[in-house]
């Protein structure tokens, strides 16, 4: 629980292209700006006039590359909305740079704001009146309910469950550390062997890294939406990819089963970054090389955010198509009816279920793009709120990982348990922030359950 740390958030909803604003408020707002902004004027950031716009580049703290060109304004307290120092960064490069800018700000030790938090500060700092405060009450009140709903979602959401798992892992490590500290000599079996702590920390670090880098939602965050094209052999998957990319990249032949490697391309659709993947045709086959291709298709489907299933209008729905539908299962998907150029008046076949296209002539591509956009919004793959939650998760995981790395370093240089415990506790509380928990009672419960205490 903090009341005056520095917070940041998108001040405009994450939508199509255009301009978006990242707002930062709190004592470290200007520090954060200094770390990521290279102004195009000679003026030092510290010397910027208050409430004045300056042009410059947002620089990635990771690789020093330019994220976006932006207009920024520093507004010094108290003449600001929150009565704290406020920085506003106006980006115009679409949703991706906006998100990267926010991430860059958060990497400076700034916390992602809770819904209603700017307004809350404005009220607590005497900036707005009681009537306006009523609306914040609503926001925070709904957040309480949302929190409850999220808790239910968390039970189902795999990422939350995995984070919870890591937190449990850390609780167990802490319990082991604390039982050694608070109950020395009491349970001989609790005594830690050499390297045991390091092993446990490595396991936890590994889990977090896997989660951060894994094919789960974290990857969407960095690499965009993953769209997979599937369909039986020779249905026109590679042609569709090529048409979408408007360039020949995949090898297109008339022999079924040509595409044996997965081909991956990036494109931008309605301001949303999309990774589009062409898989090998899925069908039962004895050919060994092709088997690998089918296996890869299955795998890539597993991590897909959206599947485009292609059917051949000239052959109608076949058994293999059914198999592919089963493979796709619950993954959000669109069904495409390809090769309409070989049929008359095929466009009229469009209905709720099938989108008629011709990968060869490009017919139906507008409709397809619109539907992709719609399903992405509809299924909330990258709706504003879920994305923000993901950034929150990722920030929590990232910070937890740093703390675990610190704990490992401490252990390597021979620091004692009580010092190492500080870092582990910190890692725990970074993850605990997600579910809002406190450490002591949980650790004690584990200790009394697992170890024979009572000298």
């Amino acid at each position: 629980m903090y009341i005056d740390d520095t917070i940041a958030a998108l001040a405009t909803p994450l939508g199509e292209g255009g301009i978006g604003i990242v707002r930062i408020s709190g004592p470290q707002a200007v520090d954060a700006l200094e770390a990521i902004f290279r102004p195009k004027t000679e003026k030092r950031i510290r010397d910027f006039e208050s409430h004045t716009l300056y042009l410059g580049n947002i620089i990635s703290p990771r690789d020093g590359g330019v994220i976006d060109e932006a207009l920024v304004a520093i507004m010094y307290a108290p003449r600001t909305f929150t009565r704290e120092d406020v920085v506003e960064i106006n980006c115009h490069g679409g949703s991706m740079p906006l998100r990267k800018t926010l991430e860059a700000v958060l990497a400076q030790g700034v916390r992602l704001a809770q819904p209603g938090e700017f307004t809350k500060r404005a009220f607590l700092n005497g900036r707005i009146d009681l009537v306006q405060a009523e609306s914040i009450l609503d926001i925070i009140r709904s957040r309480t309910h949302e929190g409850l709903r999220a808790a239910v979602d968390n039970l189902e959401g795999s990422i939350s469950r995995e984070i919870e798992g890591i937190r449990k892992q850390l609780s167990n490590i802490l319990a082991l550390v604390e039982v050694n500290i608070d109950f020395p000599e009491e349970d001989e079996e609790a005594a830690m062997g050499p390297g045991e702590l390091e092993d446990e920390l490595n396991k936890a670090a590994h889990e977090i890294t896997r989660l951060l880098e894994g094919a789960g939602k974290g990857k969407i965050l960095r690499d965009g939406i993953k769209v997979v094209i599937v369909g039986k052999p020779n249905v026109g998957k590679s042609s569709l990819l090529n048409t979408l990319l408007r360039e020949k990249r995949a090898i297109v032949t008339d022999i079924p089963g040509t595409t044996r490697d997965i081909i991956e391309e990036n494109l931008n659709l309605a301001g949303i970054p999309i990774r589009i993947i062409d898989t090998a045709g899925i069908r039962e086959t004895g050919d060994e090389v092709e088997m690998i291709g089918v296996e890869r298709s299955r795998k890539s489907l597993k991590n897909a955010d959206l599947a485009l299933i292609i059917f051949d209008i000239t052959t109608g729905i076949q058994d293999e198509d059914g198999m592919i539908m089963d493979l796709v299962g619950d993954i959000p998907h669109l069904k495409l009816l390809n090769k309409i150029d070989l049929m008359d008046r095929a466009e009229e076949l469009y209905d709720e279920e099938f989108i008629p296209i011709s990968a060869k002539t490009g017919a139906g591509m507008d409709l397809l793009e619109k539907n992709i956009g719609k399903i992405i919004e509809m299924d909330n793959i990258i709706g504003d709120q879920p994305l923000i939650n993901r950034i929150r998760h990722e920030q929590a995981l990232q910070r937890a990982l740093e703390s675990i790395e610190n704990a490992k370093k401490s252990s390597e240089v021979g620091h004692p348990l009580d010092i190492i415990a500080i870092d582990i506790k910190e890692a725990w509380s970074h993850l605990g922030e997600i579910v809002g928990d406190t450490v002591t009672e949980e650790i004690l419960d584990i200790i009394f359950q697992e170890f024979c205490i009572g000298k």
């Binding site: 009450l137 009140r141 604390e178 809002g436 650790i443 009572g454």
Partner: protein, 634 residues
């Protein structure tokens, strides 16, 4: 028939570890104090382990000492062995523990109490507290004496409706065969206080002459001389060893076969027992895969054959106790002198207290020690001194004294009790302290002596000694910061080589060099000839601050954030039930605990960060509605 028996500034009920400190504190602060005890022979009794200290506990002992309390000095005068434990686990959790001569401990403490000039010790049993219009007026005793006083401190230990359980035998009793206090509970209830019932057990005391020591592992104390109090340095005491043995499968069989003879194991008593101090029955039942448990034999003193059998607390019948003890190596022919037993007792649900240990809703009433649901002599002493101080502050019209979680274990202990309450006898643990690297036992004096001086409990002698130590620490710190060794420096390079430490690449202060993993405080004298004049504890203290500087700074920063929430005070009399938009559960929890700050509110289980936001907004609204006159304190 009652009679008026006198008028005092402060009355302390009980003369155990809480009562002793409370009575000493208030009388030393100039209050005419009466301390009533069930028996003059039960003063500072150790009815369970004859030991003081351990992780968290030694921290409390040294804090009480820094404030001018007695427990550290008394333990230093009466130990039979002293050990520094957790030495390899870090500066924050290093802890001193001693085995005490139980009788000598009582004798010495009793002497201190009797010699205190404002303190009057009397043997009597308090049966009623007189409260009129929300103000304490005095107490009425079994003998009919009415003692008048504007302040009363409850320090009744485990005596309230005490009941001893041993097998199917159970009878009304205080600990160790002393009288129980049977009427005070009802009287407290009639005043509207909520009581809870706890349970704790103790092992048998055996005849030391019937133990075969030849087959046991001897445990001696540390050679190096350690003391709880910096005021005790230089005293020497003779040592006695302890002994280690183990239970075995035979012992466990005997216990399991006779479990039905333990009404506690049968679940017939609902009083909560501490999880950290289970009976041997519990251990055997719960950890079936363990074939043996450690048993420590601890002598109870020089002038007694009695030995405390640590690890074997039990409420089994006497014959089974004997059978199970005799199955243990070295105890084949053992004789029991005092049987083990479980004791049940009433105590106050501590959520009814304030951070100064005042009982909410009654002016002048304070409560301390096991009475508040804690266990342990150290926890009792810490609360005792705080209650004694605050009774005196009240009498003198001075501001109440409280301790923050960020300045002392006393603060952690009291805040935990008051804010969260407790479901079992509460024991302090270092893991309960968020900022434990700052709250070390080695710097308790640096943290609290000034505060104790302002309160008025730190006398000139203690204060001068403290100032001397503090100056030495500052001086040595400065020298180590300023003394720079340059690469190529002959003496420095040679020394580093000798200590298997890599040569310098750039100029470094000795303080920086001492952070290296292969170096520690014992090397200060090597690098800085002449520093032998600083005592070991000063060198150690200075080295810790250098070595863990980064982590210490990190915790200081955490404390700064913590304080922001603590400083947001909640004005008294807030109706938490009426906070719109807050979840019902949170409102109820807040109403029950009545937190005094937003920080305290945030620690109440069941109150979420979103609830705290609602609270912050409510407080701001209220502040504006009341014209902003109330001090928000933020």
């Amino acid at each position: 028939m009652t009679f008026s028996a006198g008028k005092y500034d402060v009355i302390v009920i009980g003369a155990g570890h809480a009562g002793s400190e409370a009575a000493l504190a208030s009388s030393r602060l100039g209050c005419r104090t009466l301390c009533l005890t069930i028996s003059m022979d039960a003063i500072a009794l150790m009815p369970c382990n004859p030991a003081v200290g351990g992780p968290g506990k030694s921290h409390l002992v040294r804090e009480v000492d820094a404030l001018g309390g007695e427990i550290a000095l008394n333990a230093d005068k009466t130990f039979i062995q002293m050990r520094m434990i957790n030495t390899g686990k870090g500066p924050a959790v290093r802890a001193l523990r001693c085995q005490s001569d139980k009788r000598l401990y009582q004798y010495e403490m009793s002497g201190v109490l009797q010699r205190e000039k404002n303190l009057h010790m009397k043997q009597d049993l308090v049966e009623e507290i007189i409260i009129k219009n929300g103000q304490v007026k005095g107490v009425i005793t079994l003998a009919g004496a009415v003692y008048w006083s504007p302040t009363v401190i409850l320090a009744g230990g485990t005596y309230l409706r005490g009941r001893i359980i041993m097998g199917d035998l159970n009878y009304s009793s205080g600990p160790a065969g002393y009288f129980p206090a049977n009427k005070l509970s009802d009287n407290l209830r009639s005043h509207g206080f909520e009581l809870v019932r706890f349970n704790t057990s103790t092992p048998a005391r055996i005849d030391g002459d019937t133990v075969d020591y030849s087959s046991l592992t001897e445990q001696v104390g540390d050679e190096e001389e350690y003391y709880f109090s910096y005021m005790s340095h230089g005293q020497k005491r003779p040592r006695l060893p302890c002994w280690l043995t183990y239970t075995n499968t035979k012992t466990h069989e005997i216990i399991l076969e006779n479990l039905d003879k333990s009404p506690l194991a049968r679940g017939e008593y609902s009083a909560k027992a501490p999880r950290y101090c289970p009976s041997i029955e519990d251990k055997v039942v719960r950890f079936t895969n363990k074939e043996s448990h450690q048993v420590f034999l601890e002598p109870e003193g020089w002038d007694t054959k009695e030995i405390y059998v640590q690890g074997m607390s039990t409420s089994l019948p006497l014959d089974i106790q004997l059978e199970m003890l005799r199955s243990i190596k070295g105890l084949g022919k053992v004789e029991i002198m005092r049987p083990g037993y479980a004791i049940e007792y009433d105590c106050i649900q501590p959520k009814q207290l304030e951070l100064n240990l005042g009982v909410r809703g009654v002016e002048g009433l304070y409560s301390a020690g096991q009475m508040n649901g804690t266990s342990g002599y150290e926890e009792a002493a810490a609360q005792g001194i705080l209650a004694g101080i605050n009774a005196a502050m009240y009498v003198k019209g001075r501001a109440p004294v409280t301790f923050s979680r960020s300045e002392a274990y006393i603060g952690v202990l009291v805040d935990d009790l008051v804010t969260k309450g407790t479901e079992e006898p509460y024991r302090i643990l270092t893991s309960r302290a968020e900022y434990r690297l700052l709250l070390r036992q080695d710097n308790a004096d640096l943290r609290l002596t000034e505060k104790g001086r302002k309160i008025g409990l730190v006398d000139d002698q203690r204060y001068e000694k403290f100032i001397e130590r503090k100056n030495q620490i500052e001086e040595l710190t400065e020298i180590l910061e300023d003394s720079v060794i340059n690469p190529g420096d002959e003496h420095g390079e040679k020394l580093l080589e000798e200590l298997s430490s890599s040569p310098l690449k750039k100029s470094m202060s000795i303080g920086e060099i001492l952070k290296r993993p292969e170096l520690d405080s014992s090397h200060i004298e090597r690098f800085l000839p002449g520093s032998e004049k600083y005592p070991r504890d000063v060198q150690e203290q200075v080295w810790i601050e250098f070595k863990y500087e980064g982590y210490i700074k990190k915790q200081i920063k955490q404390v700064e954030n913590f304080k922001k929430l603590e400083n947001r005070k909640i004005p008294p009399g807030i109706e938490f039930q009426g906070i719109r938009g807050m979840r019902m559960e949170a409102r109820e929890k807040l109403q029950e605990s009545k937190p005094m700050s937003v920080g305290q509110a945030s620690r109440i289980p069941g109150v979420s960060p979103a609830d705290i936001n609602m609270l912050l907004i409510y407080l701001e609204q209220r502040r504006r509605e009341t014209g902003g006159n109330e001090d928000e304190g933020g």
